[in-house]
C-alpha cells in the first residue's frame, strides 16, 4: 500500500509540474470569466468585441445560464471574475457564499415581463384574460429561475385585478404544461409553436429570432426585474473585471442593452 501511495504521489507530482506555467510574461493574455443571466446573452455578446478591442490581450469568456445555476456554481467555487444576475436573490446567494462583497452589487439594468405567443397564434390569444382558457398550453420558467418567480409575482398581482376575473392565477397555472430551466428554453418552446403562450422578459422577446407575437402586460401588473452586477471578490484580474462592469454601466453599454429591450436603471 505504501508503494502504491508513492506511485500515486509521483504520478500526481508529474501531472502538477506539467501544469504549472513558467514565469508569466508581461501583458500575458487574460481571460475574464463572466457569469451572466441567460437573458443577457445577446446584449453581452454584442458588447464583447468592443470591450476586447479597447483592452488588448483580454478575452471575455461568457457563461450564460439561469442565474440560480450561476449562483450555485459560484457558491461551489467556480472560477469567475464578474457575476451579472437577473435578480437580487441569486446575487445574495453569491454574497452569502462569500464570493461577492456585500456592498459590491449594483443594479445596472431593468427588465419587464411580456407574454409571448408563437408566430400564427394558434390558440387565438389576444388579451391577458385569454390565458385562462382551459386547454391552453402555457410554459413558464421554474420558480427557482428568476423569471419564473417574477412570472408568479405578476400572476399574484393579477389576482387583485377584478377585470381579469376571480382566481386568475389558479386558472392560468392550471394551463401550465412545463416549468423550464431558463428563460431561453421558455422562448424556444413558444417560438417552435409547441406551447401556446409563455412569459419571458421584454428583452428576450426583442431578441427572439423567430416571428413571435407579444401581449403587453400593463404597468400596474408588471414586475420590474432589477439586474445586479458585481466583481467577484477573489477575481485574479479585479481591475479588468471592474473595467467590464464599468463598461456595462457606461452609456455605450447601456445603449446596447436598450437595443435588446432592456430598460435603463432610473
Amino acid at each position: 500500500m505504501k508503494k502504491a501511495f508513492l506511485f500515486v504521489s509521483v504520478f500526481v507530482l508529474l501531472l502538477s509540474s506539467a501544469c504549472t506555467p513558467g514565469a508569466a510574461p508581461e501583458r500575458s493574455p487574460v481571460t475574464l470569466n463572466i457569469l451572466a443571466a441567460a437573458s443577457l446573452t445577446e446584449a453581452f455578446q454584442e458588447m464583447a468585441p468592443a470591450f476586447e478591442a479597447a483592452h488588448a490581450g483580454v478575452t471575455l469568456q461568457f457563461n450564460f445560464a439561469g442565474s440560480q445555476q450561476l449562483a450555485q456554481q459560484l457558491a461551489n467555487g467556480a472560477p469567475a471574475d464578474v457575476f451579472a444576475s437577473a435578480n437580487k436573490k441569486q446575487m445574495d446567494v453569491a454574497v452569502e457564499a462569500g464570493r461577492v462583497a456585500a456592498d459590491a452589487p449594483a443594479s445596472f439594468v431593468q427588465n419587464r415581463l411580456v407574454i409571448v405567443l408563437p408566430p400564427n397564434n394558434p390558440a387565438g390569444i389576444t388579451a391577458l384574460a385569454d390565458l385562462t382558457e382551459p386547454g391552453l398550453k402555457i410554459v413558464l420558467a421554474a420558480k427557482e429561475v428568476p423569471v419564473g418567480q417574477y412570472a408568479l409575482d405578476f400572476l399574484a398581482k393579477a389576482d387583485a385585478d377584478a377585470s381579469l376575473g376571480s382566481g386568475y392565477s389558479t386558472r392560468v397555472l392550471a394551463n401550465v404544461v412545463s416549468y423550464e430551466e431558463n428563460v431561453k428554453a421558455v422562448l424556444t418552446k413558444v417560438s417552435l409553436g409547441e406551447a401556446d403562450a409563455g412569459i419571458v422578459y421584454t428583452s428576450d422577446a426583442a431578441s427572439a429570432t423567430g416571428e413571435i407575437l407579444q401581449i403587453e402586460i400593463p404597468d400596474g401588473l408588471n414586475v420590474i426585474a432589477q439586474y445586479p452586477i458585481a466583481v467577484v471578490q477573489d477575481s485574479a484580474n479585479s481591475d479588468l473585471a471592474r473595467a467590464f462592469v464599468d463598461w456595462v454601466q457606461s452609456s455605450e453599454g447601456q445603449k446596447v442593452l436598450e437595443k435588446y429591450g432592456f430598460l435603463p436603471v432610473k
Binding site: K3, A4, A142, E144, S178, E181, L192
Partner: protein, 273 residues
C-alpha cells in the same frame, strides 16, 4: 527470492496504476453518500415533489422497457442474423442513438413528433399532442435506451446454434413457434440483461426528456429533471434523488453482472491477477 521480491514491487506498481481511475469514480460516489444525513433522507422523501419524481421515473422507465421489448425484439432478432444485406446499415442505425448527445435526441423528437413537427399535422388530426406528456417522457427514454437491449439480446440470439432452429423447422415448427419455444428459452438471460441495462439508462435519461417532454411535477418531471431543476433551490432534494438513482442503477448493474456470470459466459470467468 530476489527475483520474487522484484516481481512483488512490479506487481504492486501495476495494481497502484488502477488507483487514479478507481479513486476518480469512488470519491464522487462517496461524496454523494456522505452528503446526506439519514434524517434528511427520510424528510426529503416525504416531500410530494420528490415522491412524485421517484414514482414517475419508475413508471416511465418500466414502460420504456416494455415498449423496447415489444418493438426492439424483432430488430434484435433480425440483427442476430448477420447474413442479411442490410445488416451493417441497421447495426449502425441502432448504435446511433447511443452516441448522440441526448439533447440532440430531444430536439430531433420535438421536430418529428412536436405539434409543429414533421408528423405534427397528422398527430393533430388524430387529436394527439405528444410534447409535455408522460408519453413523451417514455418516447425520449426509449429512443435513447432501447439500443442497449437490442444489442444485448442480439448477442444472445446469435449464440443459438442454427441447426437447432433448422431441426425445429424440420419438425414442422413455424417461425413464431421456433422463436417462442427455442429462441426465447435459450436466450432469456441476454434479454433480461439487456432489459436491465435499458431500464437503468432510461432511469437516468435527462437531456432528451427535458427538451421533448419539458418539466412538470408529477407529469414529466423525472428524478434527473428534479435533480437538475431542484439543485439550485434545495441541495438536499438533489442529493436525496441522486442517492436513490445511484442505488437503483447499482442494483440494476449487479443483477446484470450476476446473470452474465451465471448464465451467459459461465465458462469464461477468469481471475485478474
Amino acid at each position: 527470492m530476489n527475483n520474487h521480491r522484484h516481481k512483488g514491487i512490479r506487481g504492486s506498481l501495476w495494481k497502484a496504476s488502477l488507483l487514479p481511475y478507481l479513486l476518480f469514480i469512488l470519491i464522487p460516489l462517496f461524496a454523494l453518500l456522505a452528503g446526506i444525513r439519514p434524517a434528511d433522507l427520510a424528510r426529503t422523501l416525504q416531500q410530494p415533489q420528490v415522491w412524485q419524481a421517484v414514482r414517475l421515473s419508475l413508471l416511465t422507465s418500466a414502460l420504456s422497457v416494455l415498449v423496447t421489448l415489444l418493438i426492439g425484439t424483432p430488430v434484435s432478432y433480425y440483427l442476430s442474423h448477420r447474413q442479411y444485406r442490410a445488416f451493417r446499415l441497421m447495426d449502425t442505425l441502432v448504435d446511433l442513438p447511443t452516441v448522440l448527445p441526448p439533447a440532440v435526441a430531444g430536439v430531433a423528437l420535438l421536430l418529428a413528433f412536436g405539434r409543429r413537427g414533421l408528423l405534427g399535422d397528422w398527430l393533430n388530426l388524430l387529436g394527439i399532442s405528444l410534447p409535455f406528456t408522460t408519453a413523451a417522457v417514455v418516447m425520449a427514454q426509449t429512443f435513447v435506451a432501447a439500443p442497449l437491449f437490442i444489442k444485448s439480446a442480439a448477442i444472445g440470439f446469435s449464440a443459438i446454434d442454427c441447426e437447432l432452429k433448422k431441426s425445429a423447422a424440420l419438425d414442422g415448427a413455424n417461425r413464431w413457434q421456433t422463436f417462442r419455444y427455442i429462441v426465447i428459452p435459450m436466450s432469456w438471460p441476454s434479454m433480461l440483461t439487456g432489459a436491465m441495462l435499458t431500464w437503468a439508462r432510461a432511469l437516468g435519461e435527462f437531456g432528451a426528456t427535458i427538451i421533448f417532454a419539458g418539466n412538470y411535477p408529477g407529469r414529466t418531471q423525472t428524478m434527473p429533471s428534479a435533480i437538475y431543476v431542484g439543485f439550485e433551490l434545495d441541495l438536499t432534494v438533489a442529493v436525496t434523488l441522486s442517492v436513490i438513482l445511484v442505488t437503483l442503477s447499482f442494483i440494476a448493474l449487479v443483477t446484470v453482472k450476476w446473470f452474465v456470470y451465471h448464465y451467459i459466459e459461465p465458462a469464461s470467468i477468469e481471475t485478474f491477477d
